[in-house]
Amino acid sequence: MKRKKDGVPSARRELLTGIRDQLPLLLGVIPFGLIFGALAISVGLSPLAAQGFSLFVFAGSAQFIAVSLIGESASALVVILTIILVNLRHALYSASLAPSLAHLPRPWKLALGWLLTDEAFAMASRRYRGGKLGNAHWYTLGTGLTLWAAWQLSTAAGIALGAGLPPSLSLDFALPLTFMALVAPTLVDRPTLAAALSAGVLALALINLPFKLGLVAASIAGVGLGLWVESRIRPPSEHTIG
């Protein structure tokens, strides 16, 4: 982000930058929301309940899996547990952002926690790596709110379109592409590269574990390998945080 050498960007400026930085990601998020809305209707959910998932659970991949399970007549308890397991990675995001949000009053923590998704987290952690905290929470709010609004609107559009959305468009491919765009700028050194590669390969190896648990295990192992490579190339006294 561009900013004056001395002094901190204003709250308004941070908010607008957050919104602006999140906009390109919507190219990946909106198709995903469209498909979710259409899928929810196709398994027999009412339009209100379909939108309710996006409004209240607000977690893309977990919503997909939940709705698929509902389509397969899984019990409510199984669906809820699956949502929680699929979203376990958010605990990692939460831990990652916690130091940067520690100074904020409780309502801010409640709001930014609510808006903590894959995409918003990736943008926020990039911002926090940039140094001074200042009004960075406004940036995070901007990214989160933009994503939230786009998710609600695209879900609603998907509900309205329903079966009119042709599967041959392969719109679901937009999501991995979004993650690719998010991952590329983080691969700045060997430890990060090691973390990313090992987590990806392990996720493949563990793909058959239920409830996407392989994803969580692979991520933790990837972080471990990143730390190990870091300790090999840097003396242990020079560890930096964040």
């Binding site: 390109p24 990601l25 190219l27 027999g44 009412s46 309940a49 309710g52 209240f56 659970v57 607000f58 991949s61 977990a62 939940a66 409510a76 809820i80 929680i84 979203n87 958010h90 990692l92 995001y93 939460s94 831990a95 990652s96 916690a98 130091p99 949000l101 520690a102 923590k109 409640l110 930014l112 926690g113 903590l116 894959d118 990736a122 392969s170 491919f173 937009a174 999501l175 592409l177 690719m180 765009a181 998010l182 991952v183 590329a184 990060t192 973390a195 990313a196 090992s198 990806g200 390969v201 392990l202 996720a203 493949l204 692979a218 991520s219 990837g222 972080v223 471990g224 945080i241 964040g242």
Partner: protein, 106 residues
């Protein structure tokens, strides 16, 4: 499934997801975060995102497919080149989607 049951699931999903997101931000004090986790924070985004991303590209119909007939892999590699060289979010997504559509239209 009954409408009430669906809303019960939404409520459970809301509580479970929100509490997970709040875990370290609000519920668990900062000094209780293990040191190793603290040091590993910066590796969390690349690790998690790659772990989600890679299977989406190379697993087709439940099996590993590293051939050129896996259009998602081909489109993904081209998009990865764009992401790596240009670091442009919009172009990365657009290139990947258009490549996939062109391959499927052949």
């Amino acid at each position: 499934m009954a409408e009430t049951t669906v809303w019960l699931i939404i409520l459970g999903g809301l509580l479970g997801t929100y509490l997970t997101r709040l875990s370290f931000i609000l519920l668990i004090p900062a000094d209780r975060v293990p040191v190793v986790l603290h040091r590993g924070l910066k590796y969390i985004p690349p690790a998690v995102l790659s772990a989600i991303l890679l299977p989406e590209l190379v697993i087709r119909d439940g099996a590993l497919d590293l051939t050129l007939s896996n259009y998602r892999l081909v489109a993904g590699i081209i998009a990865a080149l764009v992401a790596w060289r240009l670091k442009n979010t919009w172009l990365t997504i657009a290139t990947g989607m258009v490549t996939l559509w062109l391959l499927m239209a052949r």
